[in-house]
Amino acid sequence: MMKVVRGFYSVAHAVKTCRPNVISAYPITPQTEIVENLAAMYANGELENCVYITAESEFSAASILVGASATGARTFTATCSQGLILMSEVLINAAGMRLPIVLVNTNRALSAPLSIWNDHQDSMFMRDAGIIQVYVENNQEAHDLIPQAYKIAENSKVLLPFMICMDGYKLTHAYEPVDLHSQEMIDEFLPPYEPVAKLSVDKPLTFGSYAPPHIYMEFRVALQNATERARKVMEDVFKEWAEFTGRDWKSHISVENVDDAELAVITLGSITSLVRDVVESLRREGKKVGLIKLRTFRPFPNDEIRKALKNVNKVIVLERAVSFGNEGQVAIEVKNALYGKSKEIYSFAIGLGGRDVPRELIVKIIDNVMQGKVKQGFHFEGVQEFKEVIP
């Protein structure tokens, strides 16, 4: 049913149809309205066989889900920014224990300085946690990814936490028409969670053993293997979703106008829509520009990126985060994927801490690269004159 809803609701509604058993969260802007929506559903008795717990911190919220997931419950939480970082110790632990917790991160900048506005610094910090990480372009995509996230995370070949990243404010607060799932539809798509191992008195198991050097490494290999296996499981589920809904759902990446392109722009998240618009108008002017939207960040789609850029010489990476002391995280990954291929790679950090990224800025970046006006490597774009206090 098509309805104009806020991003928050598109997530909460989708979570409800997935029949979660335990939801635990702590409020943080710009995530709060997701769990407020779920709390209201809980208060109205709309969530069957479900316990909703408002924890005293994100750390405890995630810990509650560790216990619940290990007991065989389907779990959900949402957070962002400082909350995600506070959760990080637990989420890393949950990945090691192979618990398929699904969370939504409403991307927000990290302090200091304090900022409640959007960038991707928070989720990028979780790059090496062993959790699946995907970015959505709009609220329909966020809505659609929730049931798929459970199906992927709970697959016995995977069993990993799954983090859906949606841009804070830009998506969370936006009203968009969203084709909302019906309960019958999700009941058909998503089977109940059948854990391969769970805490039970009848068959007592030990979870969270400690591992001395003679066995620790094997568990980390298993974690890597699970993350690698997730690639194929995700592809299959994405394909199944496309067939199930009749939507053009794409896969780990979406490749648009790249076949004959001299230059391709790589984006992730909500800015993709703006960049697509720019790319399409530049093509109307005869400029051979293409777009690659990165959906899956972990596992990183190396092969797909390499294949998509086979005949493209110039690559621009636009991203909302920085690995300080090097460059943007996505650019680092793209360079790794293209190792041995001689491409010109230009990476730009834009829109940090909610800084507006106007259309003209994207046009300027693309024009400058096409005309050879900027060097390869890393740049900040859209920064004003600023006298540093230190030194």
């Binding site: 316990v51 216990g67 198991l205």
Partner: protein, 294 residues
């Protein structure tokens, strides 16, 4: 399989297995165990060598309480509540220091769990560093004795009063030197719905500096001197205490343990012993520990 098998790695004379076995026995093994990082976890949960015959989970150092809350919530949501009780075993550091905020949240929301604090009065697993439950005057590696310092200066954190202040249904202290007391209190705790907090004094032979049999002797003296009163609160009201006949002076407890021995030589030792005696006397007054002489 036994609830907690032999072959675990605890030191001879360790108080932890005594406490754990008696708790599990009182629960007839019908329970889910959540264990914080620490001594108990390390001696019992090595991969491939688990000592646990009941479902067991260890997540992190500071989150045992919310993990237990999550298990309890899941059991309710999945209609499995009758399967067993959820019981936490956490050390004193995990309880009173690093996991304090998490535990407060759980007690505040009154999740239906039994929280057992295994109180050996320092971070013993990592070699005897002070925690919030280390008593005054104890020499630890982070509160060492020196020319200026006589060991820990601060008092033992009053976790019992803090637990009581949360308004949870049942709060008690017990001791590995009194196994029947542990079993009785766990059974009593089962009669309440909500968070139950039981703090069990548990000797550490290496940390306390006693031999294999000395731990239990010391733990018994802790009770008999009034330094570790065995008490019970139901809904905030003191309902029962273990009375002491001829309460012993604290020196008898202190002098047999290496962790306190310096107090008998250090310039500040006398003052600290006096303060510890004052604490024991105050415990006796507050809880009515002394048997009245007729």
């Amino acid at each position: 399989m036994r609830y907690f098998s032999s072959g675990h790695g605890a030191c001879p004379g360790c108080g932890l297995p005594i406490a754990v076995k008696n708790v599990l026995q009182a629960l007839d093994g019908k329970c889910f165990v959540v264990n914080s990082t620490g001594c108990l976890e390390i001696i019992s949960s090595q991969y491939g060598k688990s000592a646990w015959g009941v479902p067991y989970i260890h997540s992190l150092f500071e989150n045992a309480a919310p993990v237990a809350a999550g298990i309890e919530a899941a059991l309710r949501a999945l209609g499995r509540k009758d399967e067993g009780h959820v019981v936490v075993f956490a050390g004193d550091g995990a309880t009173a220091d690093i996991g304090f905020g998490c535990l407060s949240g759980v007690m505040d929301r009154n999740h239906d769990i039994i929280y057992i604090c295994l109180d050996n009065e320092a971070y013993q697993n990592t070699g005897h560093q002070q925690s919030g439950l280390t008593p005054m005057g104890e020499a630890t590696t982070t509160t060492p004795v020196g020319k200026l310092m006589p060991g820990k200066l601060g008092k033992k954190k009053d976790m019992v009063s803090i637990a009581v202040a949360h308004g949870i249904p049942y709060v008690a202290t017990s001791s590995s030197a009194f196994p029947a007391d542990i079993r009785r209190k766990v059974k009593r705790a089962l009669e309440f719905e909500g968070t139950k907090y039981i703090q069990i004094h548990s000797p550490c032979v290496t940390g306390w500096g006693v031999d294999g049999k000395g731990g239990i002797i010391a733990a018994k003296l802790a009770v008999e001197t009034g330094l570790y009163p065995l008490v019970e609160f139901e809904y905030g009201k003191l309902t029962r205490v273990r009375k002491i006949k001829d309460r012993k002076p604290v020196e008898e407890y202190l002098k047999i343990q290496r962790r306190f021995r310096h107090l008998f030589k250090h310039p500040m030792g006398k003052q600290i012993i006096e303060e510890l005696q004052r604490i024991a006397d105050e415990n006796a007054r507050k809880y009515g520990l002394d048997v009245e002489k007729k």
